[in-house]
Structure formats: C-alpha cells, structure tokens
C-alpha cells in the first residue's frame, strides 16, 4: 500500500511562533466591514449611542472581524504549503477604535505522517490581555 507523503519542503516544529501582526482599525475600516455584512448595529458607528446608551468607552470593534484576523494569521503563515481545516475562537473582551491589536499564535502539535497541525491563536490588546483566544487545525499539502 502506498503511503501518503506530506509536503517535505515545509518544516513545522512544535512551539514554533506564527508571525505577529498589528492592526489599528479606524472608523473607515470598521464602517466598511459592517457595510459589507449589512450590520447596522449602532455600537459600531454611532459614538454618542455607544457611550451614552450602551456605556462603552468608544466604538466597538466587530467581534467577527477579530475572528477573521485569526484566520489571516494562520493563512499568511501557512502560505501555499497547506490549508486551513477548522478554527475555533471566542470574543472574550471588547476592544475599541483607537486601540492597536496584535494577532499571533504558535504550533501546539504536528503529525508529520498526516501533515496535520494544531495551532493556538490570539488577538491581544495593548494591555497584554488576550481578548480573542482561538485554536485552529491546518493540514500540509500531500506531495505529488
């Protein structure tokens, strides 16, 4: 029986860090994101409403956009060497326009036979809190 060979060009090591990336979303980006979704929730564009009615310190950065950044973190690291299979994340703490957020992660496990990679991911705020933790599974391409 022929054994499946995974991509030999790519070496993955447990503990390896994924490149970090900083995001400083502004009103324009947050507006465009919610416009693409057709999401009219005022906490994302109406600052007086967000502060006075909902009690937030500012305009709230959309939770699924933070989730998207975790997907980007995996895909930019993986490049064309494999594909993202699944992702889990949780929006634990809110963030606001004006903040700079950092995405990153590390390799938790790697199976060289199947090419399967388990990753731990994060969105971190300037205070160092992980506001959106996540995990993902990716798999390296099979050779040939």
């Amino acid at each position: 029986m022929q054994q499946k060979q995974v991509n030999q060009q790519r070496s993955v090591s447990v503990g390896e860090a994924l490149p970090e990336r900083q995001f400083t979303p502004d009103n324009v980006q947050l507006f465009l994101y919610n416009a693409v979704l057709f999401n009219a929730h005022r906490i994302h564009f109406d600052a007086p409403y967000a502060k006075e009615v909902e009690g937030y310190p500012g305009l709230v950065i959309a939770g699924p956009m933070l989730g998207d950044w975790l997907n980007q973190c995996v895909e930019e690291w993986l490049g064309d060497d494999g594909r993202l299979v699944s992702i889990d994340y949780s929006n634990r703490q809110a963030s606001y326009i004006g903040e700079t957020l950092t995405t990153g992660g590390k390799v938790l496990a790697f199976d060289p036979t199947s090419g399967e990679i388990e990753l731990e991911l994060f969105v971190r705020n300037e205070a160092g809190d992980v506001i959106t933790p996540g995990t993902a599974v990716a798999v390296l391409n099979t050779a040939g």
Binding site: P25, A35, F38, N39, A40, P64, Q72
Partner: protein, 151 residues
C-alpha cells in the same frame, strides 16, 4: 435547584430556519477582503473567498422596520429566553472546500442545543446554532457552530 429552562423552551431544540441561497460574486469578495485588511492577492482580486466570507454572505438582510432602534435584526430562530444579557460566545468553523465567484451557496441554520449552568453570579443559559452551507450539488462547503451565553 430551580431551573430557568422549561419544557416549552427546550422544545425549540431542533428548530430550523428557512434555507437561504446566495450567489458569491467577485465584487463582494473584494469588498470583504479589503475591509478585513487581507493581504493575499487571490482574495483582494476576488478570485477566491477568504475563510470567513460566509459571515458576510449570510448576514441577515432585513427591511428597515424589522431592525430595532439599536440597528439589530431580531433572530427569529431563537425563542424568548428568560435571561437576556448576552456574554461572550464562541465559534467553531470547518472549511470543507474553497469558495469562488459564481458559486451558489445555501445556508440552513438549526438551533441545535439549549442548556444551563450555574455561574458565579447565578444561572447561565447556553445555546448553540449550527449553520450548514452546501453548494447546489448538496456538498458541504462550510459548517459553523456558534455557542452563545446569556446571563
């Protein structure tokens, strides 16, 4: 222990939304990729949809009088819960095949679970919504499970 959930509420488990069928277009992919700050050419050019593009494709499109004053649409899949303050939730997303312009995709949402736990400040209600996205041949493209917590 008194339960905040009753049989009438639990009877909503298994409830399904009407399927929603949408066309994937290059223009919508490009807008999504740009708005999320994506840096990959295949997404920015709209040749392929980035992983979470389905969030935009299947966001509820409702008429103005169906939006509450805060701009939120009411999720008709959900019953009225006895707890209403939403806390952090989680998402699990499986990607089964790439999405490209020209694809017709159909999403069906199912309220798959309702349960409660006792938190430090009292009871918490958890509910789960599964969204299965299939192509016109019925092949699974994306499966998403959302877990939300109410207190």
């Amino acid at each position: 222990m008194t339960s905040v959930l009753n049989d009438a509420l639990l009877a909503n488990i298994g409830r399904q939304s009407e399927p929603v069928r949408e066309l994937v277009t290059r223009r919508e992919i490009r807008k999504y990729a740009i708005a999320t700050g994506n840096r990959q050419r295949k997404y920015l050019d709209g040749d392929q949809a980035p992983p979470m593009f389905h969030v935009a494709l299947f966001w509820d499109v409702v008429e103005l009088d169906e939006l509450s004053p805060d701009g939120v649409s009411i999720d008709r899949l959900l019953p009225k819960f006895p707890l209403e303050k939403a806390m952090a939730g989680g998402l699990h997303i499986e990607y089964h095949r790439p999405v490209r312009p020209g694809d017709w995709l159909t999403a069906t949402r199912t309220l798959s679970n309702i349960y409660e736990k006792i938190g430090r400040s009292g009871p918490l209600i958890f509910y789960e919504v599964d969204m299965d996205i299939v192509d016109d041949d019925g092949n699974l493209v994306i499966r998403e499970k959302t877990t939300r917590i109410l207190r």
